[in-house]
Assembly symmetry: C2
Homo-oligomer: 307 residues x 2
């Protein structure tokens, strides 16, 4: 069980150093994260973009570019296409968004020739290291799928569970969340949560233990779970690894509450792709970007060993 | 502007001491909160319930009952009816749930003869004192209305704004939240948020400034709001007082994330009633119950002065 980002980074010791391909790399916070990731032996990088601008930013932030491969391509769309194809061809292990809008970046990820499609739906996972909780929490989906159907939710679980396995959690506990912990026919979310639990029991969702609907306190707080009557027959008793959200509003608002009211740091990835995709946003700190690179490197290593 | 629960409690200095009527008072955590509230000059109490059990619990927790009015009624439903009627008749200023289930308690609140109906929809407000934010945050609805319609949301705003006014915030900023800060026709929540904003501009929702849809970072984090392009034409720039949630799942999950991942303390009330109703749950700490009594006392004082 991996308990923190420091432990996650420690897992990379002894693995071959992974390489991230950065699309449109002329972006100060992204280059700073790439620099820190190299200093901490998390990942090396190939920088694709406007070389003059990359060199200018690197000079500003005191980054020595001598050890990096740089591919000069001033056109943004073309730079992304080159950067993603390096991952597609196995010359890099993961793919990262630089100074390009999300739409253009995703287009490169989904490119049929040089992209990272698997045919599976994509989803987003956000990993938090919460003080007082002795393991990492995997939140999904807080950023990508607006209103997931039951089928989408099964895919989100599948994608997220794979990330858990990569992080050394062989049989993660998955909590489909709601405001309540009992099925209420007037709340469709609780019916879907019960259905996902049944699909897990029937072997249609594997590699994890699903137990829902669950309220957040019963999912992550052992005292609360033990306190409530009836919680004894639950498979999750305050020890959930994965928090599955009803929709993007609930997920995104919880994620931002954790970041903006409690200053919690996370790392996040786009999943369901052939290789890890790092799609941090402009407002994410360097720490978040570095954590995301560490998560990506751990997942890339796991994928390599599985193939 | 009231910045914290300590300031809220300080507002009660010089006001006549308020009195809470407790339904089915034989409940240790509730009696403990009542005891602390009296010690801190927040409120006095009338205890309605099984007197023998009340005395037993009081002895256990070292509570001196000599200053309290106790009404012995062993039947739970009848005890609630007596307790609520004391508020209805003006003999007490607010109403609190003891050892009675929520359904039975609400039945007494809504009793046509002796209850606290106003004809307005009820809603729930949860008030947080967040470190790093220089004012109280009012969250609604995280516990009562499952899927609020547009009309319900206008009522929630109305109820919550009244609580803000009582707390010394004359023109609170209300943020109808979503995962995004722009209207997206595929996300009904964003359309409703825009409609509420329009209703406020047209004078249909008064006493506050409404600006939505807003993502949580733009609502409560001034740096994030200033960082994003276009945020300059917004009425809320990281300084929201009221957070309006899309539905109970989003609201309840955020509320529990703040409590269970960040150990934040809150106080909460049922609103839209003739007098403040304190409906804390079993899992709420004594601090939360005391804060709720303080909030109730401040609101009761405001209602008295307004009538």
């Amino acid at each position: 069980m991996t308990k923190s980002f420091d432990e996650l980074i420690a897992k990379l010791d002894g693995c071959p150093l992974k390489k991230v391909s950065v699309a449109v790399a002329q972006d100060a916070p992204v280059l700073e994260a790439v620099k820190v990731a190299k200093e901490r032996n998390i990942a090396d990088a190939i920088l694709v973009g406007n070389e003059a601008q990359i060199r200018e930013i690197a000079a500003d932030i005191g980054m020595d570019l001598s050890g990096y491969e740089i591919i000069n391509e001033e056109d943004i769309t073309e730079a992304a296409r080159i950067a993603v194809s390096l991952v597609h061809e196995g010359k890099a292990d993961m793919y990262m968004k630089g100074s390009i809008d999300t739409k253009g970046f995703l287009k490169s990820v989904l490119d049929k020739e040089v992209g990272l499609r698997t045919g599976k739906p994509l989803s987003h996972v956000c990993v938090f290291d919460v003080e007082g909780i002795d393991h990492l929490l995997f939140l999904s989906d807080v950023a990508f799928i607006p209103y997931p159907t039951l089928e989408d939710k099964a895919s989100i679980i599948h994608n997220t569970v794979e990330i858990c396995h990569a992080c050394g959690i062989p049989n993660p506990k998955v909590a489909p969340l709601a405001a309540v912990e009992v099925v209420n026919p007037k709340m469709p979310v609780t019916l879907e949560a019960a259905e996902l639990t049944k699909m897990n029991e029937e072997g249609k969702i594997t590699g994890c233990v699903v137990d829902g609907p669950l309220s957040l306190d019963l999912a992550i707080c052992p005292e609360a779970a033990q306190h409530k009557a009836g919680a004894t027959d639950r498979k999750i008793v305050g020890d959930a690894d994965v928090l599955l959200f009803p929709d993007i509003h609930a997920g995104n608002l919880v994620y931002k509450a954790m970041v903006h009211t409690a200053n919690m740091v996370n790392g996040n990835l786009l999943t369901g792709t052939k290789a890890p995709v790092i799609l941090t946003s402009r407002s994410d700190s360097v720490d978040v970007k570095v954590n995301s690179l560490a998560l990506g490197a751990v997942v890339a290593d796991f994928m390599k060993k599985a193939n």
